[in-house]
């Protein structure tokens, strides 16, 4: 008698175990999908904040140099609608790359620093968006509609907004370590 019940019991145990493993895997996958989407959103907010800071820093430099074109580009970048923003930021980058900055001017140094942060924020944003899109496109995720709760993150497609570093000053600038590295949560 035990000989006939045993295989049946093992079969049940097997199914239960497999179900448990599969649901744990699903839970883990759902968590991963949520995390990558949250990150892509945070990265997008951070990139937005740094682009605004850059445009503001550019406007300050433009006012000092009385450069009408640079000021207009900064203004347009600040006011651009979502659909036009990439073009406006590219125009600003082009203007900034053409301008000659004075290494001893604190406004110019601030502009270089914010530009470096834009480069970093864009890099990280691109990586997060890629991770999120990869996660969304997995067959299991699509089949179970695990991605339906989240907006599909989009790349922010701009040219590399890199500016050349200013030559080192012979006299160290006061309060140099550029930004206090505080935890900027979200929004900004």
């Amino acid at each position: 008698m035990p000989g006939t019940t045993m295989p049946g019991m093992w079969w049940v145990v097997g199914v239960v175990a497999l179900t448990a493993i599969f649901s744990a895997y699903l839970g883990w996958t759902a968590q991963r999908v949520e995390r990558v989407h949250m990150r892509a959103q945070s990265a997008e907010r951070a990139l937005d904040a740094h682009l605004v800071r850059r445009a503001a820093a550019a406007a300050v430099v433009a006012e000092q140099n009385e450069s009408v074109e640079l000021y207009a580009a900064a203004r347009l970048a600040l006011d651009a609608e979502p659909g036009d923003r990439e073009t406006a930021e590219n125009d600003l980058t082009r203007q900034l790359q053409a301008v000659t900055l004075d290494p001893s001017d604190p406004a110019a140094r601030a502009l270089i620093n914010t530009s470096r942060r834009v480069v970093l924020a864009r890099q990280v944003h691109t990586d997060q968006v890629r991770d999120a899109q990869t996660a969304r496109d997995r067959v299991l995720v699509r089949m179970l509609l695990l991605n339906r709760r989240y907006r599909k993150p989009e790349y922010f497609d701009i040219v590399e907004p890199v500016l050349p570093d200013l030559p080192p000053l012979t006299v160290p600038a006061p309060a140099s370590p550029s930004d206090p590295p505080t935890v900027v949560a979200s929004g900004a």
Partner: protein, 376 residues
């Protein structure tokens, strides 16, 4: 900021990655941050106060060298405890895709993770193949740093992610102010080599051949060698009559390394490959030595295309011999190279490098939402 750094390799054995981590940690502490470094080490071994030992390391051959790493359940438990206690604002791991503490830390953490890639891995095809398998790990890394253009290229092409290039730093002041060893470099000229002379890709045999040729015509020319290795093995390939003109220092401390680099007329880097960044070159530059190096891509970049150090075709003994002869005969050219090198090396000084790393931390924190916690 509270910063947790993970070293994949043990500090018991000196190495490029370990030095990078210690210098970075010290520069960050100097800038006013709290830093804890988790590294494979025996609990009773001596280490700097900011290092937290994670247990004994096992020697494993990795990427052409022997790496001492820790991996397994005990290490995992220690990593998790360290993460829980640390409450770091940011976690910074090095070489996270090798089986190491760094890998374990990435798997165990959530929150902002910054990863630094040091090697331009030659087995990058295997890495591409493992990408699907590694994706959950890669996905946890928020921001990536590559220490060289080559390491960055491997990142972009084989892991499909971007990376910020931030070169290795060098403690310029420490090297520039070191006193030469007594009696060096001397009248007859001195060539210097630092590294594992038994390791083929370091290219020591090229320098040995060149030195033996040059020493025959230059009675005062000496060779100063430092690095791990067996003394007898070094001398066995050098003609006996030259033995007293070749000085072997063995494995040197960081401070003796600086003094050694200050004691040479020409520092020679005959490496034939495998270098992703010429760390030793930036140190020789900081020490003010004139440099002769093989024209590897990494070396060419560090030496500003050859203006901060003379280049010779990789593996070409005749060219190396000729170049060393020219440099030894021309103190004006040596001065030119070393004064250019002093300017170029400014960009590699640690405080300025650490400031750029902090910007990456801030970016990573912004792109996540909070501290680094143990992931249950």
């Amino acid at each position: 900021m509270r910063i947790g750094i993970v070293s994949p390799y043990s500090f018991d054995v000196p190495g490029g990655v370990q030095n990078h981590i210690m210098d970075l940690a010290e520069a960050l502490i100097g800038l006013g941050h709290e830093v804890s470094v988790l590294a494979p080490a025996d609990d009773d071994a001596e280490h700097p106060p900011y290092v937290v030992p994670a247990g004994r390391a096992l020697p494993l051959p990795y990427n052409g060298s022997v790496a001492r790493i820790a991996f397994g359940p005990v290490s995992t438990a220690r990593v998790r405890r360290w993460l829980r206690k640390g409450e770091f604002d940011v976690l910074h791991v090095h070489e996270p895709l090798s089986p190491s503490l760094s890998f374990l830390a990435v798997v165990s953490a959530r929150g902002p993770v910054v990863a630094t890639f040091h090697t331009a891995m030659t087995r990058s095809r295997a890495l591409s193949a493992a990408q699907t398998f590694l994706q959950p790990v890669i996905e946890k890394i928020t921001a990536r740093i590559a220490v060289s253009e080559l390491a960055r290229k491997v990142q972009v092409e084989h892991l499909g992610g971007g990376a910020v290039e931030i070169p290795n730093g060098v403690a310029v002041a420490k090297f520039a102010s070191a006193a030469p060893l007594p009696g060096w470099p001397g009248e007859g000229g001195t060539l210097g080599f630092l590294g594992r002379f038994t390791e083929p890709r370091k290219g020591f045999p090229l320098l040995r051949t060149a030195y033996v040729r040059l020493a025959k015509e230059r009675p005062g020319l000496r060779l100063l060698v430092a690095g791990p290795g067996d003394r007898d093995e070094l001398y066995s390939d050098i003609p006996p009559e030259l033995h007293e003109r070749v000085e072997f220092l063995g494995l040197v401390s960081e401070s003796d390394k600086a003094r050694m680099l200050r004691s040479v007329d020409v520092y020679v880097a005959p490496n034939t490959g495998g270098e992703s960044f010429g760390m030793i070159l930036t140190e020789a530059m900081a020490a003010g030595a004139a440099i002769a190096a093989s024209d590897l891509d990494a070396f060419r970049r560090v030496l500003d295309g050859g203006r901060a150090g003379a280049l010779f075709p990789n593996g070409d003994v005749t060219a190396l011999t000729g170049l060393l002869g020219e440099l030894l005969d021309d103190p004006v050219r040596r001065d030119g190279l070393s004064s250019c090198a002093r300017i170029v090396v400014g960009a590699f000084d640690w405080p300025s490098v650490a400031t750029r790393v902090l910007e990456v931390y801030a970016t990573a924190i912004e792109a996540t939402d909070g501290r680094v916690f143990d992931d249950e």
